[in-house]
């Protein structure tokens, strides 16, 4: 299955109820949007970007809008074409649908709200504007989205396998902490490609930046987060291992109120 546009509101528990590929496939069509994304910059796109995006991302997409200076994390600088949340392989540009999804879903734990307050047409219209800020889109095309293998069920054994990967094979805890709080020994040293300190994700919050479904989390391990120290594990881990790791980090989510 190729995840295309992923307006995926399917949460973890719903995902964990998935018992097999057949059922998964039956959910997938719900996530596909029929939004028409323009290929050229339009007046609507320019206006929408100027009014709603440029205050943070800057008029030229450098991530230096007037509101940016006090923000942490900093708004994305679009000029490098480095997009975190993609369905495409590590280092690739995102698809239009990937960008549309981030605009619509927002980025939890940041000031990037879900811009569903705008019409679908408005949201789609800013995509060529964002792409116009980076030469990368002129010289390259996004690679084809990665293939999502058949998901496992989140059994105890799968989670246990994920834990081993987290703790021993990849040593994820060095950044993300033993309990997944984003407080590992190397956490403070992390920087993104733009030179800003970047906090490893705190899994206990449950607000996964690229989306809360198992497939969303799986995709982060598969594609990596461009522009950040978080690499892709498409090569190091088998498809199955990535699902195990997915379920393990999702098991680290602490219900609201029990957090320290």
């Amino acid at each position: 299955m190729k995840p295309k546009v992923l307006l995926d509101k399917v949460g973890f528990w719903r995902a964990t109820a998935v018992t097999g590929a057949a059922l998964m496939l039956s959910i997938a069509p719900m996530t596909v949007s029929a939004v028409n994304i323009p290929t050229e910059v339009t007046d609507l796109g320019k206006d929408t970007y100027k009014k709603y995006c440029s205050p943070c991302h800057g008029e030229e997409g450098k991530g230096d809008g007037p509101l940016a200076r006090s923000m942490l994390p900093k708004p994305r600088d679009f000029t490098r074409g480095a997009y975190k949340f993609r369905t495409t392989p590590s280092g690739s540009l995102p698809t239009d649908e990937d960008i549309y999804r981030t605009v619509s879903y927002g980025v939890p734990n940041s000031t990037m709200i879900p811009w569903d307050i705008l019409t679908e047409e408005q949201r789609a219209s800013v995509i060529p504007v964002l792409k116009s800020f980076s030469e990368a889109f002129e010289v390259r095309k996004p690679d084809a989205p990665v293939t999502v293998g058949l998901p496992l069920r989140p059994t105890e054994r799968a989670i246990e396998e994920g834990k081993k990967i987290y703790e021993e094979k990849l040593e994820c805890w060095k950044c993300h902490g033993v309990e997944g709080r984003g407080d590992g020994p190397s956490a403070a040293e992390q920087e993104d490609d733009f030179g800003f300190p970047i906090k490893p994700f705190d899994f206990t919050t449950g607000k996964f930046k690229g989306g809360n479904s198992a497939q969303d989390v799986y995709l982060r391990f598969t594609t990596g987060l461009n522009g950040t120290p978080m690499p892709s594990f498409a090569k190091e881990l088998t498809d199955e291992q990535r699902w195990c790791l997915t379920y393990y980090v999702m098991s680290l989510v602490k219900p609201e109120g029990t957090k320290k």
Binding site: P55, P66, G106, S110, T111, I117
Partner: protein, 536 residues
């Protein structure tokens, strides 16, 4: 102990202490208006929004406001942010997005709100009862008071900076109590912005390039329209407003050392030693002296109105007020006998023994009687009166020395040879005999401010603006005597802090007095020598 001074202020927080007020029948249905009953010119210069284009008050054309004034005096000066147009969020009433973004953009704000009574207005039986009253009064169901409710101006579709009027939509009894400060006249909180900008030296300093030097003035005087002066945003806690610390950021320093005098008094020391035993969640009207509070707080004394009732403003019982206005009950030798010199916008002398003030004194005794015998408390307060009479007498003698020096032509540099009184041109142009009285107005008109102004209250300009040779050394000395040391002695005595009373008050007052005497003698001697040399 008494006086105007340490005070909690403003209305607004959640469910205040003034339980009795909530039982009063609804007085009015008109929207809350902080400027209710004020004349048109007043509203036009203090309330009507001009953004940052012009100042406020009668001298508004002589200065532009400081940038921060949009937050301090929002009705007049607030401008919605230009960087990000929030109208779409208001039009679509997307309450969820306020929190989603601001949880990250300004997490402290959201965290405060989450722990406030606004987020959970029915989280305790007490809050539920107060919320039920508000629901009844406003005909709304209040399960959550949200960012949107206070910050969204649904008419203009812009973000607004809430004033007490916004708070008053729900907290009407507290708002109405606060509004009553106007009955007492200045000094009070509700007219604090007026007090800040109506004085001619504010505008004069601004046009001489000192506008931002007055940052400190603006910060304290921003208590006119805003409730978060005492109930800090975004918790807006009633309990916080009941703590003495709520008052001290403003009520300190050389002209009203309330924090210092209360804080180091036995009252204050016991509070600090035993503060964990104080139950500030209790409304003032339900505080059990000795159990909930072992000593009084600023709020407990100053917000006690009378007969067991508390009011949501701290000025109603004030007799000596800030301590600057001379009492009627003395024979003056200086021009203070003519105070306030026919000026209509300054309060008359205080009659300490007027029917109203005798009644107020009995209300003070009601408070003191929680812990002190009537005789002890009465004796203490009478001693305060005596201290004040003696202090005003000393000030009168000092003023006489300065005035005689001026009358005899020995002031140096003379008024003719120095900068005029602040903003004299503006005073002549913007004010009229109606405000200033005929004689004072005419003095400005004919002499163009080239005359000395000494003593309460217009002579205080030297504390706020020093110009070319104006005021002179001896005038500065006198300012320190009556505006600093007299007031410090007053607060030290009123708040039972012996060291403040003596070493910050009486002792320097006397030292300054003898300095004034010798400075006057020196000026006279030099003047005589100069005259003699000229006649040779």
């Amino acid at each position: 102990m008494k006086k105007f001074g340490i005070g909690l202020c403003l209305s607004a927080m959640l469910f205040t202490s003034v339980a009795w007020a909530a039982e009063q029948p609804l007085k009015k249905e008109t929207p809350p208006d902080l400027y209710e009953g004020t004349p048109d010119w007043y509203r036009a210069t203090y309330k009507d929004n001009v953004g940052l284009r012009e100042g406020s008050g009668p001298f508004k054309d002589y200065f532009k406001p400081q940038m921060l004034d949009m937050y301090w005096q929002p009705n007049r000066h607030y401008e919605p942010m230009k960087n990000l147009d929030h109208s779409i969020f208001i039009e679509k009433e997307r309450r969820d997005l306020c929190v989603t973004c601001h949880e990250e953009a300004t997490p402290g704000v959201v965290s405060d709100w989450r722990s406030s009574g606004h987020k959970n207005p029915k989280s305790s039986p007490y809050l539920s009862a107060r919320t039920a009253e508000i629901e009844k009064r406003t005909n709304r169901i209040l399960n959550e008071v949200h960012c949107f409710d206070c910050h969204a101006d649904t008419k203009t579709k812009q973000i607004r900076m809430p004033t007490g009027e916004v708070c008053g939509e729900c907290h009407r009894p507290q708002f109405d109590d606060f509004l009553r400060e106007r009955e007492m006249g200045r000094p009070n909180h509700i007219q604090s912005w007026e007090a800040n900008t109506i004085v001619p030296w504010y505008a004069e300093a601004a046009r001489r390039g000192y506008l931002y030097g007055q940052h400190g003035c603006d910060l304290c005087h921003s208590g006119a329209e805003k409730c978060d002066v005492c109930h800090t945003r975004h918790k807006f806690s009633a309990a916080e407003g009941r703590q003495p610390e709520a008052c001290i950021t403003c009520h300190m320093g050389p002209d009203h050392p309330d924090a210092e005098s209360y804080g180091e008094s036995k009252h204050g020391v016991i509070y600090h030693k035993e503060e964990e035993h104080f139950d500030f969640t209790r409304p003032l009207s339900e505080v059990r002296p000795g159990k909930d509070y072992r000593t009084p707080t600023c709020q407990f004394c100053h917000m006690y109105e009378k007969h067991g009732r508390f009011i949501h403003n701290p000025v109603m019982k004030g007799i000596w007020r800030m301590g600057t206005v001379p009492p009627k009950n003395l024979e003056y030798t200086s021009s203070l006998k003519d105070y306030p010199y026919g000026i209509k916008i300054i309060a008359d002398k205080i009659d300490i023994y007027s029917e109203e003030n005798v009644a107020k004194r009995s209300y003070w005794l009601e408070v003191c009687a929680k812990c002190h015998s009537d005789r002890f408390a009465d004796t203490y307060l009478k001693s305060l009166d005596e201290f004040m009479f003696q202090a005003h007498t000393l000030a009168d003698r000092a003023q006489k020395i300065v005035e005689d020096l001026i009358a005899d032509g020995y002031l140096y540099p003379s008024a003719a040879d120095r900068d005029p009184y602040p903003l004299s041109d503006g005073i002549e142009k913007q004010l009229s005999p109606e405000f200033l009285g005929e004689p004072i107005y005419n003095a400005f008109k004919t002499l163009k401010g080239k005359f000395p102004v000494v003593g309460p209250i217009l002579g205080v300009y030297g504390m706020f603006l020093q110009q070319q040779d104006n005021p002179s050394n001896i005038e500065n000395m006198y300012n320190r005597l009556w505006f600093w040391y007299k007031l410090q002695g007053y607060k030290g005595t009123a708040h039972v802090q012996q060291d403040v009373s003596w070493w910050w008050g009486q002792a320097p007052m006397m030292m300054e007095f003898t300095k004034i005497q010798s400075e006057a003698a020196r000026l006279r001697r030099e003047g005589r020598i100069e005259k003699a040399s000229l006649t040779k």
